[in-house]
């Protein structure tokens, strides 16, 4: 059990900064997911926590002890590698026992702990097999078991599910959450898969281009993204970004988008330094748009370019006033390419980003939790499809 504190850490490779000015805390027992696209510095950050990589500057603390110069073997950190990195010439038992043997731990105790861990992970029947004789899921569990036997203060995982097929991935995800609940070991987990991040994390830290963009719970990051990069990276299909205009008067904030003016709810305000009237990038998630076939819809009208039926829901790719956008509609909907629909945007989940820098402009701190049975509609209220 441990807390981690990363303070202004940089990692440079020549002129290139893999990690820039990273400051991040992980609480005791927390499951932190480092999320970001490939090359965003998340693996480098993890390797610095492991001790496999030295920070160029900054401080890393493990339980208030500065560990910048502590070699990986002395950090009490267990790591699961993306390739599992099992020792190919040893059977499962010896793979698991390698660490304890190196550390000269008591043999009888190791044996007992090893059997216990392999029981928990369902490896008992596989102990005399070589890694090459195991399936991907089994190898992954051996890698987990090896890290667990270290009795680590901190668990590090580098995209541990990326080599598994989709069905197994869901299963192992649940397994990992269960194990975390059982052992309560502080965990830092690296992934580029937002589904893994959303489902497993206590806290998500989103990284882009070496910089930490936002850290918060899954819901916070989803509902209140600090900038356009975070907003469009999380959520599938991604948030629609449309050109628009924002203005503020005594009655509140108004956003012009898709040829229509929407008034934001009263909790919304403009963040400190931003101008009160400006051109903005307006963001809205596909799930916060309703495509309406009713003739009396007063909202913007759009033409359907493409229909993606997923069974339970349908994703429509639309053109509206020469903008492309995606919207979610219920499944079993009889809509065809070329049909016209009216759009209703949910003003509660309308985002505005700085046109230049992409930072979020609207302060949503006043927004209450949402118990929406139906989304609140912007301009008009009427039945949906």
């Amino acid at each position: 059990m441990a807390t981690v504190s990363i303070e202004q850490v940089w990692r440079r490779f020549g002129p290139h900064s893999a990690v820039a000015d990273l400051t991040l805390d992980v609480r005791d027992g927390e499951f932190l997911v480092l999320l970001g696209p490939s090359g965003c510095g998340k693996t480098t950050s993890l390797r610095m926590l492991a001790g496999l990589e030295r920070p160029t500057s900054g401080i890393i603390r493990l339980d208030d002890r500065i560990v910048n110069d502590v070699p990986p073997g002395e950090r009490d950190v267990g790591m699961v590698f993306q390739s599992y990195a099992l020792y190919p010439h040893m059977n499962v038992y010896r793979n698991l026992a390698f660490g304890p043997r190196i550390r000269r731990e008591n043999k009888a105790e190791t044996h007992k702990a090893l059997l216990e861990v392999s029981e928990v992970l369902g490896l008992s029947a596989l102990l005399d097999r070589r890694p090459s004789e195991l399936s991907g899921g089994q190898r992954q569990r051996v890698a987990l078991g090896r890290a667990l036997l270290r009795r680590p203060k901190l668990f590090l995982m580098d995209e541990p599910l990326s080599n598994l097929d989709a069905a197994l991935r869901g299963q192992v995800r649940a397994e990992l959450v269960r194990l975390h609940g059982q052992y309560k070991i502080t965990t830092v987990y690296v992934t580029h898969d937002q589904v893994e991040a959303m489902t497993m994390a206590d806290k998500i830290a989103v990284m882009f281009a070496g910089r930490l963009q936002q850290a918060g719970t899954a819901q916070e990051v989803f509902d209140n993204p600090v900038n356009m990069m975070v907003a469009t990276f999380i959520g599938s299909p991604p948030m629609n970004i449309l050109p628009g205009h924002l203005s503020e008067d005594e009655s509140g904030i108004r956003i012009e988008v898709l040829g229509q003016t929407l008034r934001l709810p009263s909790w919304a305000s403009i963040k400190g330094t931003h101008a009160s009237a400006q051109q903005v990038s307006v963001g809205i998630r596909p799930t916060d748009i309703i495509a309406d076939t009713l003739a009396d819809c007063t909202g913007p009208r759009a033409r359907i370019d493409f229909v993606e039926s997923m069974g339970a829901e349908t994703f429509l790719t639309l053109t509206c006033a020469s903008n492309k956008l995606i919207c979610r509609a219920p499944g079993r909907l009889r809509l065809n390419v070329g049909d016209e629909v009216g759009l209703v945007l949910d003003v509660n989940y309308l985002y505005a980003f700085d046109y230049e820098g992409g930072n979020s402009i609207i302060d949503r701190s006043g927004q209450a939790g949402d118990a929406r049975p139906h989304p609140t509609k912007g301009v008009v209220t009427h039945g949906t499809i």
Binding site: P72, P88, H89, G99
Partner: protein, 314 residues
């Protein structure tokens, strides 16, 4: 070299053929014919003839040079009772063991590890020197080492005396010369072997708290085992065939101190004119080489339990 599925399949076998069952059809035989003919004419024939000569009384000059005949076990009987032959066999073992197994492999390994970790310029310089030493013709290498170690050479000048070190420690110097000229090959083979050891596996060892030496001994070496064994066998074969190096440096001397089998065979055949006995000694070399070659083929064959890349779902 190592198919993913771990099964061996000769190219002549249809993919449906069960493992271990070899099927030759007409086309297969036709395609094998040129290679077979070449092998028979250029290799099996001459070697077979050499084995025959080994049990005749052929000489280089004199009446039996042309009219030789089969003499049964006479030469073999001589071989078994020849003290010099047993001595020569022992020297061959020492030469192969010290230079090929110990020297070339250990130094080759050290160089390979150095090449992996050293800064670029050092890597370039050392790599170039070592490979050049390997590329030099044996006669150059031999003369170089002769000049280096004989009276008035660098080594005696360095030691401040005019002693003939080549004469005093002939076997050591000859082994060193062989190591010097073969280490480059060994380094190339082992370097490529080192590259196949996955970095993450070594890092996993580091995470467990293993020291550099423990990682090298318990992870790198065992994972590289097939490459190391292959290398030892290849270098042994190369050294066994390296007749010219020793012949130029010492011609088997002083006395018989470096008289390894290939040299003893040459001596008997072309200096003492006993072509038949020389051939028989050569046959012994062929048998030794065949054993190593067979082991080499066995080892370099992919095995089911061998290392396969991990990661992808099997």
């Amino acid at each position: 070299m190592r198919p993913e599925n771990g099964e061996r399949r000769g190219w002549w076998k249809s993919s449906a053929a069960a493992d271990g069952e070899q099927q030759l059809d007409a086309v297969g035989i036709l395609l094998l014919l040129p290679a077979t003919l070449l092998l028979v004419v250029m290799f099996i024939g001459p070697v077979g003839f050499a084995f025959y000569l080994g049990v005749t009384n052929i000489a280089l000059v004199g009446p039996t040079a042309q009219h030789f005949h089969f003499t049964g076990l006479k030469n073999l009987h001589r071989l078994v009772n020849d003290r010099l032959f047993w001595e020569s066999l022992k020297l061959t073992a020492i030469f192969l063991g010290a230079s090929a197994v110990v020297g070339v492999t250990i130094i080759g390994m050290a160089l390979a590890v150095l090449m992996q970790h050293a800064v670029t310029w050092l890597r370039t310089v050392v790599g170039a020197i070592v490979v050049v030493a390997w590329m030099l013709p044996p006669i150059t290498a031999a003369l170089l080492w002769y000049a280096f170690s004989t009276t008035g050479g660098t080594l005696s000048l360095l030691s401040g005396s005019d002693s003939d070190i080549l004469n005093d420690f002939p076997m050591t110097i000859v082994c060193l010369a062989n190591i010097w000229s073969t280490a480059g090959f060994s380094m190339l083979v082992l370097s490529s072997g080192l590259r196949t050891v996955p970095a993450e596996v070594l890092e996993a060892g580091k995470m467990e708290g293993a020291s550099r030496w423990q990682i090298f001994r318990s992870l790198t070496l065992p994972i590289m085992r097939p490459t190391i064994v292959t290398n030892v066998l290849l270098v042994t074969l190369l050294s066994l065939a390296n007749f010219s190096l020793i012949y130029i440096m010492t011609a088997g001397g002083p006395g018989n101190a470096t008289n390894i089998l290939p040299i003893y065979s040459y001596q008997q055949a072309f200096q003492f004119n006993k072509l038949a006995y020389g051939a028989l000694l050569g046959d012994v070399v062929v048998i030794i080489a065949t054993v190593f070659a067979y082991l080499y083929v066995r080892v370099s064959r992919p095995s089911r339990a061998g290392y396969r890349p991990q990661g992808k779902l099997a």
